[in-house]
């Protein structure tokens, strides 16, 4: 069930990328899809009634959350930020050249 909610979030992002025409909306769609993938990573590693993966001086290690997907998601978030900034730089350049954010109008204006 919780996987299905995560999948719905991903599909919202895909719908926004495919259907919308504004470039800023397309960037927002990619960000939402990336959120869904990060969430899926963390959900895969969750253990019921587990502790977070930080040791403390006087407690035994048992029933701890899987920390490997968390490390991968941590890397993924920073790469997503770099990706977003490159996309925004490209969008600003496109606006400077064509004076619009609309994808279909940019296609007509070529040449």
């Amino acid at each position: 069930m919780i996987y299905l909610l995560c999948l719905i979030l991903f599909c919202l992002g895909i719908y926004c990328i495919v259907r919308k025409r504004n470039i800023i909306k397309i960037i927002i769609g990619t960000i939402i899809a990336q959120y869904a993938v990060n969430l899926f990573f963390i959900i895969l590693g969750y253990r019921r009634e587990g502790r977070s993966a930080i040791l403390s001086p006087n407690a035994r290690i048992e029933n701890m959350v899987d920390m490997l997907p968390q490390a991968l998601a941590l890397t993924s978030i920073i790469i997503g930020l770099a990706f977003t900034s490159i996309l925004i730089a490209l969008a600003l350049r496109i606006y400077e050249k064509y004076k619009t954010f609309d994808v279909t109008k940019i296609k007509e204006l070529q040449g």
Binding site: I2, L4, Y15, K20, I42, R47, I61, A89
Partner: protein
């Protein structure tokens, strides 16, 4: 368990608003609500490192997006083959969901993960690295090549942004404006 569902439904509603609103600034703010809910969800799912990172990155990307969308709201044109495009997109998404739901049986049940690699890290993490935060131990000691590659990606992104946004025509300014 109930708080997790409430947070997820909040995230989905905020994402739907961000997708469907016509005003660009409102859309960006709804995206900020999505990121905040996601950060709280990470905290509930016992991942404090990822929660802090998500919150801070959300703030920074929100600032950048608002810088990009200020004063540039356009009319939202939905002319053209509106019906055909929507039907095709929705059909594609339904096929995707149908195939994905069939794959859910192969996944481990929620709350009972299959830990094989991590159990070794759990047992020997403190002895091998001396670090208390095991996520930090994984990304900086056991799997430090990930961090190295990620630093390379960030470096490439900074170079790419500086190249794309460079003031264009630096050569033309020296030779004169005749080339324009």
């Amino acid at each position: 368990m109930l708080d997790l569902y409430i947070l997820l439904i909040f995230i989905i509603v905020a994402a739907a608003i961000a997708v469907e609103t016509k005003d660009l600034l409102s859309s960006v703010i709804a995206l900020g609500a999505t990121g905040l809910g996601l950060s709280l969800t990470f905290l509930v799912l016992k991942a404090p490192d990822v929660a802090i990172t998500q919150l801070i990155v959300e703030i920074l990307s929100l600032i950048i997006l608002i810088r990009a969308t200020m004063k540039e709201d356009l009319p939202f044109s939905t002319s053209g083959r509106w019906l055909v495009n929507t039907v095709i997109t929705v059909c594609f998404i339904f096929v995707f969901i149908f195939t994905a739901v069939k794959c859910f049986k192969e996944l481990p049940q929620f709350g009972y993960p299959t830990i094989k690699t991590s159990s070794a890290y759990l047992k020997e993490g403190l002895k091998d690295t001396g670090a208390t935060n095991l996520v930090s131990a994984v990304i900086l000691d056991f799997r430090a090549y990930d961090t190295l590659g990620e630093a390379a990606v960030l470096f490439t992104a900074v170079i790419g942004v500086l190249t794309i946004l460079r003031r264009k025509g630096r050569k033309n300014e020296e030779t004169g404006l005749d080339n324009e």
